[in-house]
Symmetry: C2
Subunit: 313 residues, 2 copies
């Protein structure tokens, strides 16, 4: 049996052909055409999928289904609400619409992209074999996904796992992308640590640091941490406090077996984990103390894997 | 079909006989004999259940099963870890053990008592008809339960839903029952609001308050809030901040349809909700803004209902 796993982003759509044992047979991508309220996105996807099935001469009865991860809240019935990055203004059933463009040949399942990435890691990535997994994605923002017994916790309106917008700091003056203040994303995302750095540089003008020059990004900060830069280490400590205590609260509530850290900033590697782990252990309820931590292993392909799993589970 | 729903507490065991449509046909209770490491508790329960079945001449094939809620972490396989209130020192499979004492006549399912109370409310209480429900129980401590698609989120080690021990306050000097500091339970439980009151009385020695006399409990505080007592209202505001912001973070992560407030302090009634709701709306991610709030309706029977539901779901 085969499945198609699709990860729809704001600039490109990544499509993978999978076998039901979790192996990717082929991947390709097409541009995301967001013009005209993104009305071509789903027809483009359908066309590309149908073409591939034809080229590969895959019999329809050998295709278990098509799974899609999308940048917006998707509830458990397949209804998506305002996907800003795709320029979709409406609330509609994206599973039904894509199924229509596919000519109704196979099952279609959709979910939020961060949730789908978590499902991919739980299926064949660093969470393989775990029943309950939380994944937190540290990129420009912070995404999250919760997998319970192999299934996504989608939530009532499709926004399950939004740890990036949990409240962590009273008195913050800058405003988060979501409109609130004091969200985890403002401190522990790739842009968040750059903000933390700016504040440390201002607070300690006399402390030498390689990060005073140019426009250091998250990678530069973690490189400086590895090199022993004292201001960078202060930033890492604050990052660890915010992310570690937030993951502690999440673990006290969800009690997962494993927490996976992914996203662009996770490429800094094992240097992050001790800062997070130390604070996690300080703040977590004792019954969740032994929650394991791991880095994501599927990288940018995680979304395709998880999307395929939507129809293979 | 029938089911037995059992709520095991530290002083008594409440037992209910239910029909599969969610009606309680009869309830009774037996003492919890905690002496000798609580070794008589399960045999006592089995004896009482078998006697009732015999008295009522219920054919075994008409009994769907026996569900039990227990004061301790119970994982999804029925393994309980150290139930302090029952004086049980060991980790063991409580489903298998109770089934053994029942002579293997029927299915046995076990879960944590706060989780089971949430399941009861989600089944036939104020959450009836809702797919995803969070219940928070405000008593001496704070318990919690998360119901997703009609099933308990038990967690890897059986401690899912422990919102009472999420970290909410840096710099707290008093220690929580769990051994940490700054837990939600220290501010928003029935004992927590009494602590908050003590601090307000000390901070504002010249402010008149009916609560300066005697040893006011949580009920007295909420009565004073209703009567317009300014110090009591300060306590209610702080309670609302801690519980509202914590439930906001929980809702941003779990995105439930409904949040149910139960436990002894919920008997104060509708006076609590606005203090919680105001802060909830301030701190929650926009996609979970419309989460509804309700008070629990099953009172002390909720645990029995939920326990019966364990085997009727």
């Amino acid at each position: 049996m085969y499945a198609i796993g699709i990860d729809v982003g704001g600039t490109s759509v990544k499509i993978g052909l999978f076998t039901d044992d979790g192996n990717m047979a082929e991947k390709w991508s097409i541009p995301t055409r967001v013009e005209n309220n993104g009305k071509d996105i789903l027809p483009d996807i359908a066309l590309s999928v149908l073409q591939k099935i034809k080229d590969r001469q895959i019999p329809i009865k050998e295709l278990k289904g098509v799974g899609v991860g999308l940048p917006g809240p998707v509830d458990s019935h397949g209804v998506i609400r305002k996907a800003v990055n795709l320029h979709w203004p409406d609330t509609f059933n994206v599973e039904e619409k894509l199924s229509h463009y596919l000519g109704g040949i196979t099952e279609v399942k959709a979910a939020n992209d961060a949730n789908v990435a978590a499902l991919g890691e739980a299926w064949v990535g660093s969470g393989k074999g775990c029943g309950s997994v939380v994944m937190v994605t540290l990129g420009t923002g912070i995404g999250g996904g919760i997998i319970i017994n192999g299934h996504i916790l989608a939530g009532f309106t499709g926004s399950g796992g939004e740890i990036g917008h949990t409240f962590v700091q009273e008195g913050e003056t800058e405003i988060c992308n979501c409109g609130k203040t004091g969200c985890l994303e403002q401190y522990a995302s790739a842009t968040g640590v750059v903000r933390l750095l700016r504040r440390e540089l201002e607070a300690y003008p006399d402390t030498q640091s390689s990060l005073r020059y140019g426009e250091p990004d998250a990678k530069a900060i973690w490189d400086a941490v590895k090199a022993g830069d004292s201001l960078a280490i202060k930033v890492a400590e604050k990052f660890g406090y915010y992310l570690g205590s937030s993951l502690a609260n999440l673990a006290s509530i969800v009690n997962p077996e494993l927490i996976i850290i992914g996203g662009g900033m996770s490429l800094a590697g094992d240097v992050l984990i001790p800062y997070v782990r130390k604070n996690f252990e300080k703040y977590v309820f004792h019954a969740s103390m032994d929650t394991r931590f791991a880095l994501a292993t599927l990288g940018n392909d995680g979304g395709m894997y998880g999307a395929a799993r939507l129809v293979l589970a």
